[in-house]
């Protein structure tokens, strides 16, 4: 393993730093609107879920949903624009950097950004009195893992894509269904059992179970297999992305 992927992270960080105020603002404002709107609004209709207020249940899911969105936006749109529109990757290959360095760098960077978005939700949860003490902080490594998982999958799409249009398939066929099936907005057990099985084959449901377990102390059915599933998806994704990108850029 070599460490040169750090340079790519440094590059993306320096660019992000120029825009971090609008970036942080959206990181905080978007989920706050969701939480307040859905949490209090729908919360007043549904009462409690799993014996806790709906807004609390929702906040647990939003931790993961926000992480997912952030990792996806970075590894899909931002990375693709560096690959195709700006030709940033192509330029970097003229330095002593390889395609693998670039993909690993983008992967870790997207996960770090996702962790930041997830942390913003946690901050809001503390502010709204939905999280207490130090224990909820244990969710941060899970959010990083979820970020790596989602970013790995997104990078497969990015390295295959010919244009931005291609991502519509990924959203319609994968991300949107996964977001609504994975127990983020309502409990998994509300779904017919075969749909629950589908959801449990996908990463987000496992992220949500782990997150609620660590933040609220809800029971986690199979913590180790959930962690393993996230890791397998993420590593498989990034390995495929490395392969595809090597073929695409070293031709």
């Amino acid at each position: 393993m070599n460490w040169r992927f750090i340079h790519l992270i440094e590059r993306n960080f320096l660019v992000w730093r120029k825009l971090f105020i609008p970036s942080l603002t959206t990181n905080l404002a978007d989920p706050l609107i969701y939480l307040v709107g859905f949490g209090f609004g729908i919360g007043s209709l549904v009462g409690s879920v799993n014996g806790r207020p709906y807004i609390e249940f929702l906040a647990g899911g939003m931790l993961c949903y926000s992480t997912l969105n952030s990792a996806t936006a970075e590894a899909l749109y931002s990375a693709f624009s560096r690959l195709k529109m700006q030709r940033t990757w192509e330029g970097i290959l003229h330095a002593p950097m390889t395609v693998t360095d670039i993909i690993i760098g983008e992967w870790v960077w997207a996960a770090l950004k996702a962790l930041l978005s997830g942390s913003a939700i946690l901050l809001i949860m503390y502010a709204l009195g939905l999280a207490h003490g130090f224990r909820p902080l244990m969710v941060l490594p899970v959010l990083l893992l979820l970020g790596l998982c989602v970013a790995g999958l997104a990078l497969v799409m990015t390295t295959i894509a010919k244009g931005f249009d291609f991502f519509a398939y990924y959203f319609t066929l994968v991300l949107t269904p996964m977001s609504f099936l994975s127990g983020v907005f309502f409990p998994l057990r509300s779904l017919p059992s075969w749909l629950q099985d589908v959801a449990l084959a996908l990463p987000l449901a496992h992220g949500a179970m782990l997150a609620r377990g660590l933040v609220f102390g809800d029971p986690i059915p199979h913590p180790l297999s959930s962690i393993l599933l996230l890791a397998v998806y993420g590593v498989a994704g990034v390995l495929i992305a490395v392969r595809v990108a090597n073929r695409r850029l070293y031709r």
């Binding site: 590059r11 660019v15 030709r87 003229h94």
Partner: protein
């Protein structure tokens, strides 16, 4: 002395089509070596092979004492690259582009900062360190790309069509910069389809066509070897037919390209006298150049 760059029997196919077809050459330290040829001749692919950015189907390459592609990353620490299409980082300013580039070479922030005034001066952008890339003209971008390629103080610089797409003034500025580099002892490898560029800059060059090297040597030597000293271009209405019948016996060689007849000779006077006061035919007399070499060897123009 070992050559800084050598290639032996390079072959590269794309989808069964042979793009580079048995190319061999060697570039010595301090030399400016040109690869001249029309678009699609395989110049860029040859460069990409040499840099390890694509793998040749067969052949061997050595660059700065490293085997390519196996040690391409190590070799690239000693190399600067100026690609055909500018790929400066649009998210950064002029100075940030240079600083970040230094980081890719593992240079410290301090070392990168220290070289900044020199590099900005080279690019002629000392006053513009903090401007965005998209505000620069094409010539400025190209000069900045060349400065970027100097960040790691390379032994050898690869330039892929360094002045394509630039206006004449910007081309001269780039040429001045490149001449300064050769004076400093840098090794330059450049591709071009401009004759004047190759003649002006290169100590030695090879002419490439359809993936093969068809001639190699110093520009003046190539011209002297292949071409008669004087060229008269005959053009205008009816030039072709006139040249075929009247000019042919007066010159040592005649090539037709489009509506222009290229007459090669040791003395232009008899030909110019024969044209005399012809109502429609014009003639231009000039010294032989590399384009004539190309036309002679391939039977067609290099312009595309």
């Amino acid at each position: 002395m070992n050559p800084v760059l050598w290639a032996e029997g390079l072959v590269k196919r794309y989808d069964g089509r042979v793009v580079v077809d048995g190319v061999s050459f060697a570039v010595n330290g301090g030399e400016c070596f040109g690869i001249l040829g029309p678009n699609g001749a395989g110049k860029t692919t040859t460069l990409r092979c040499c840099l390890g950015l694509t793998t040749a189907d067969s052949g061997a390459i050595g660059l700065a004492d490293f085997a390519i592609p196996a040690q391409a990353r190590d070799a690239r620490y000693r190399v600067g690259v100026v690609p055909q299409f500018d790929n400066l980082d649009p998210d950064f300013t002029v100075e940030e582009n240079l600083l970040m580039w230094a980081r890719y070479f593992d240079l410290s922030h301090r070392a990168a900062r220290a070289s900044m005034p020199r590099l900005l001066a080279f690019a002629g952008l000392s006053e513009r360190g903090h401007v965005r890339i998209d505000t620069l003209s094409g010539g400025m971008k190209r000069r900045l790309t060349i400065a970027r390629a100097l960040v790691n103080d390379p032994d050898i610089l690869f330039l892929d069509e360094p002045t394509t797409g630039l206006d004449p003034q910007a081309r001269h500025l780039v040429w001045d910069g490149l001449k300064r580099l050769t004076k400093e002892g840098k090794t330059l490898v450049l591709t071009t389809h401009f004759m004047d560029e190759a003649e002006r800059l290169c100590d030695r060059l090879c002419v490439m066509d359809s993936g093969r090297i068809i001639a190699e040597g110093p520009p003046r030597t190539l011209i002297e070897q292949h071409i008669e000293p004087v060229v008269v271009e005959v053009y205008g209405e009816g030039a072709r037919a006139w040249a075929d019948s009247v000019a042919r016996p007066l010159v040592s060689r005649l090539e037709m390209t489009g509506e222009t007849a290229f007459c090669y000779t040791d003395a232009a006077e008899p030909l110019l006298a024969a044209i005399g006061e012809h109502p429609t035919i014009r003639a231009m007399r000039r010294p032989a150049n590399l384009e004539d070499v190309f036309i002679k060897i391939t039977g067609r123009e290099i312009r595309d």
